[in-house]
Every structure is written in C-alpha cells, then in structure tokens.
C-alpha cells in the first residue's frame, strides 16, 4: 500500500487532470487508470472562488482524493497564496507544491520551494514538493516538515522518462523510509515501470495520458505498467551481468563427446 501522510492507497498512479480533449475523456481515463489520487490545478481550472464549479463538480463526482497543485507559481508568495486558496476551494490540507524557476525547462526553483514548504507546513499543510533529484534539497525539504518527496524524472511535459536513473537510485537508497514519488517527465508506460522497479513508491503524470491520441487506452496502459513495475520490484529482480549465464540446467544433458 502507498502510505502518505497517514492515508493508504492500493493504487500507485497519481494522475493529473489538465489538458484532456474533454471532461468525459478525463473522467473515463481516470477510471481506466484506477488512480485514487488526482491532481487539480487551482490557478486555471477553478479561479479561486469555485467559479470553475462545473469542472470541479466533474472531479468531485469521481470521489477520489484530490491533490491540488500550485502549477505555474514562480515565487514563494504566489505558491503560498495559491495553496491557501486551494485549501479553501478543495477542502483539503494536501498540496502539491510546485515553484517553477524558469520557463523553458519548468524546473523547480529549489530555494523558493524549500522556503514555501516551510511556511506551508507551519500553516498545517501536508506538502508534496515537486523537486529535483538533489539530495541536499531533499534533506532540507524533510527538515522543513515534508513527509513525501516528488523528484522529477525529466522536465514537465517532456516525456523523456528518467533522465538520470543513477541520481534517482541514489535518492531511493538515501531515503529508504520516505515515500518517493517520481513526478514529471514520464512519456510512456515503460518509464513508469522503470521507476517502480527501482523501488519508488508511486508515479505522478499528466501529459503522457492527456496528450496521447487515445488517453483512455493510455491510462489503462499506465495502470498495468505501474502494477507490473511494483510486482517486479517486490519480486527482487536479478542483477545485470557482463557475461552470459546458461539458463538451461546442465543436469541430465547428454554427454556426446
């Protein structure tokens, strides 16, 4: 079970709700993904005063755990304000904290991120920080009171997969007891499998499903891939070797020479 901030989930896919061709396709994609946590962007989809009520109603009808995000925030102040609005609008103290540093790569501004996390934890939020794979930043986020870390696979929406598997593996070993969720950069289900095989607790993605030609089918594919990756991790995979090792037992083989 995925255990974050004391809540347990059997499914390991967190799905974003933006950019689908229609709410009907969004809704069906979420069902097929079997995701139990769905992220919602406050800034654009709801306007802060429940004005985006119709869209919000569609999300609510799915009866899932909602994880509001601060997508598109560039400063501590923006992110903190957005988080507070989100708590009001969505009636939850969960927040996916995104503080963007730069437009082309949308990479996190980790300095502002740590500061925003500290403030929000003090304000009683349960913070899910979108961060890099930097261990020191991760350490600071935990010190700030985060109980989950969400390192990137690759830049948001890039679909490149796990850009730096070494760094992610290191992070996994360095924080064996912290729930780690790979967030952003996932393109195809094998990327998500790879993260799960490495022992990550869950995967968060949006564009890979919403931007697919058939989002509903892709959502299902991700669900299967994440389940496969998790099973594989739990089954303790073999190590890669440089040389071949015969898989056929020698016992009982005819000696012909």
């Amino acid at each position: 079970m995925l255990d974050v901030y004391g809540e347990k989930f059997s499914n390991r896919l967190l799905l974003g709700s933006a950019q689908y061709p229609s709410p009907a396709i969004l809704s069906e994609s979420i069902k097929q993904s079997q995701s139990q946590i769905v992220t919602v962007s406050l800034r654009r989809e709801s306007g802060g005063d429940l004005a985006g009520q119709a869209f919000w109603q569609i999300i609510q009808d799915l009866k899932l755990k909602v994880l509001p995000n601060t997508a598109g925030c560039y400063t501590v102040k923006e992110a903190v304000t957005t988080a507070h609005m989100a708590r009001e609008v969505f009636n939850t103290d969960w927040v996916k904290l995104e503080v963007i540093g730069e437009e082309d790569t949308l990479q996190p501004n980790v300095f502002e991120l740590v500061e925003a996390a500290r403030i929000l934890v003090e304000d009683g939020f349960k913070v899910f920080p979108y961060t890099t794979d930097d261990l020191i930043v991760a350490e600071k986020l935990l010190q700030a009171g985060c109980e989950v870390l969400m390192p990137w696979g690759a830049p948001i929406g890039s679909g490149r997969g796990l850009n730096n598997p070494y760094a992610l593996k290191t992070m996994r070993s360095h924080f064996p007891d912290t729930p780690l969720i790979v967030d952003a950069g996932i393109g195809v289900p094998s990327h998500a499998s790879q993260a799960m095989e490495m022992g990550f607790d869950a995967v968060l993605l949006n564009t890979a499903v919403a931007g697919a030609g058939d989002p509903v089918a892709m959502a299902k594919a991700f669900n299967l891939a994440i389940e496969a990756g998790l099973l594989a991790f739990e089954a303790d995979p073999i190590d890669a070797r440089d040389m071949a090792e015969p898989s056929t037992p020698m016992m009982g083989k005819a000696f012909l020479s």
């Binding site: 654009r44 004005a51 009520q53």
Partner: protein, 340 residues
C-alpha cells in the same frame, strides 16, 4: 406549411436554425437579449474557421464527419463568395518540430508542403518556415459579417427578430420554442459548463495573410485568422472557468507571445480589441439538441459554433417539423470503443 416556431437567442445557433426553418416556409420569430446582432453572442468572438480536419486532432470523429458539410451550408446560406475556401496552413517552430509530426499523425486531409508552396500561398511567412501542413479543403469566414448577413437573409425570408428581449422559453408556450441561448441558458441544461475564451483583434500593415494559420506549441497552440482591412484575429484561450469577463495578463502574454513567434511583424501591430466570452460545453464537448414537449434546446457548441451549428440546426428542424421525439445524439466514439 403553416407552423410557427419561436427562437430565443440570435447567435450562430439561433440564426442557423432560423434559416433552416424559414427555408422550408415556416414562420419564425426570434427574441434576442442584445440590442443588435452579435452584441451578446459568444459566436461574435469566434475564429470563424471551418476547419474540421484540423479540429479532428483532438475532437471526436463526429466533429469531422458533420463539420465537413458546414462549408456548403454557409455558402448556400450566405452566398458562395462569403466563404473563403483557401485552406489552412499549420506550422511549428524549429524547436517544436515534433509537434508538427504529432499533428500530422493525428489528422488527415493535408499535404506536407515545403518552402516553395509556402512562398506561393503565404509569401510573408516563407522566410520563417521550411515546412507546413496544408489542409486545402478547409475554409473560413468572418463570423461577425456572417452573423449580420445571416440575420439579413433570414429577415428577407420573413423571420422577425426582436432585440432587447430577455425572455424565458417557457414564456412563449404553448407555441413551439427553441432555446438557443448558449451559456446564458445553462440553468435549463444539466451539465452545461462554461469554457472561457479570450481573443484579440490586431491591425498591422507589415504582414498579409490570406488564410488561417495555426502555430503548434506544446503549451500554447495559436491561430491567426486574417480579416478585412489588415485586421487579424488571434485566438484563443480555453480555460475551464466561468469566472470573470476580463482578459488575464497571462492569456495576453501567451497569445501575443505566440503571435510574435509566428511572425515578428506582429510586434508592431496595434491591438484593436480584446474579446472575452464563455463557450457553452457539455461533458463530451459535443453539442446537443434536446426536446421537452414543445421546447427544444440547441446548446453545447463549445469551440465549434460555425462548424456544427448547421448540422444541429438540421437536426432540430427535422424534429420540429416532423414532430420527432427521437433526436440523434452525437456519438463520442473515443469513449464508446470496447475496452474490455
């Protein structure tokens, strides 16, 4: 045929239906809350593109199927020269070349064209782009001229239009009445939601275009549609939000940034108008015709007003004239596929 039909709302849906009915000799009376055509219609802010092949990139297949016929419908209703059948050009910047490939994969009805064809179609863009998709069967019209012309055409056919009449369809019973009020009629329709759209009109002499141009971008896809007098319509945002009727700074930055990226000469353009309105949409982003006794409702045209209003008008007219209760529901094929 002696039959009378009232229509509430004289936007693209109401006027299309009025034409469809008046053509068949039916007496039509229209009630519009605005003081003139288009004043309070979200179709006033449309791009006016008849571009079903491009829309098929992420719309349901039925949008392409029924959208194709709209070109001929508008030509019949307004006159052939009213519709510019010059196709659509789709570009991406060098760094977003993959977007062009993706768009090509998910659409059809185009040819891949190189520098020479671009130079002959849109000379002003030739220095910027080496490759484009050309959807030659697409067309566009000026939605404002189209609404005004259509209102004149239907009035010639005997349709009466009453302006500044904010009326509930129920007030007109027991006569037949069709509610074409867009998002303003949302109360009567479960699940109708607003999708905010923002558009700009700019004017510049530094560039000329003769057809709609789309610039693909992973975050901010843009279209620019040429209008009379060197005006260009730049659109349009799609925001799941019914809040406010003001242009946001972010939207302005995105639209103008993309227009500037399409061609630097837009930097010198004058901003003539900023338009904001709410598109009515159902959960599948497909329009519907519904009937309850003597009240029909056409709604949910989303971003496909000019493209699908003709077909919805035909559906509604058929149901009204032949007293049909069963009305075709546009199918969301993308969801219906068997996924077991």
């Amino acid at each position: 045929m002696s039959m009378k039909v009232n229509i509430v709302g004289a936007g693209v849906a109401g006027l299309s239906l009025a034409w469809q009915l008046a053509q068949q000799g039916i007496e039509v009376e229209m009630f519009e809350r605005g003081s003139k055509v288009g004043e309070k219609a979200c179709s006033w802010f449309a791009g006016g593109m008849l571009a079903p092949w491009c829309e098929a990139e992420n719309a349901e297949p039925v949008v392409l199927e029924y959208g194709k016929a709209s070109l001929v419908w508008w030509q019949n209703a307004l006159g052939e020269d009213f519709v510019d059948a010059k196709g659509t050009l789709v570009f991406a910047q060098q760094r977003d070349k993959k977007e062009l490939k993706r768009f090509a994969r998910r659409t059809h009805g185009y040819e891949v064209v190189g520098h020479d064809v671009i130079a002959s179609l849109e000379p002003d863009l030739a220095s910027q782009y080496q490759e484009a998709l050309f959807f030659k069967n697409e067309a566009h019209l000026d939605p404002r001229k189209a609404l005004i012309r259509l209102s004149e055409v239907v009035q010639k056919l005997g349709v009466k239009i009453h302006f500044e009449q904010e009326i509930e369809p129920e007030d007109l019973l027991p006569e037949k009445v069709v509610d074409c009020r867009g998002f303003n009629g949302a109360k009567a329709l479960e699940g109708l939601r607003p999708v905010k759209g923002e558009m700009l009109l700019v004017k510049t002499n530094e560039i000329s275009l003769s057809r709609p141009v789309r610039l693909l971008h992973p975050r901010i896809p843009l279209y620019v549609v040429p209008r009379d007098n060197q005006n260009f319509m730049i659109g349009a945002t799609m925001i799941e939000n019914g809040h406010g009727n003001q242009f946001s700074v972010r939207s302005m930055l995105e639209l103008l940034g993309s227009a500037y990226a399409l061609h630097p000469s837009f930097a010198e353009a004058e901003i003539i108008e900023m338009g904001v309105d709410l598109r009515p949409a159902f959960i599948d982003n497909l329009p519907r015709v519904e009937r309850k006794n003597q009240i029909w409702r056409i709604n949910g045209l989303y971003r496909h007003g000019y493209l699908l209003a003709p077909y919805m008008a035909k559906l509604a007219a058929d149901s009204i004239i032949n007293d049909k209760d069963e009305i075709e529901k546009l199918a969301d094929f993308k969801l219906k596929e068997d996924r077991a």
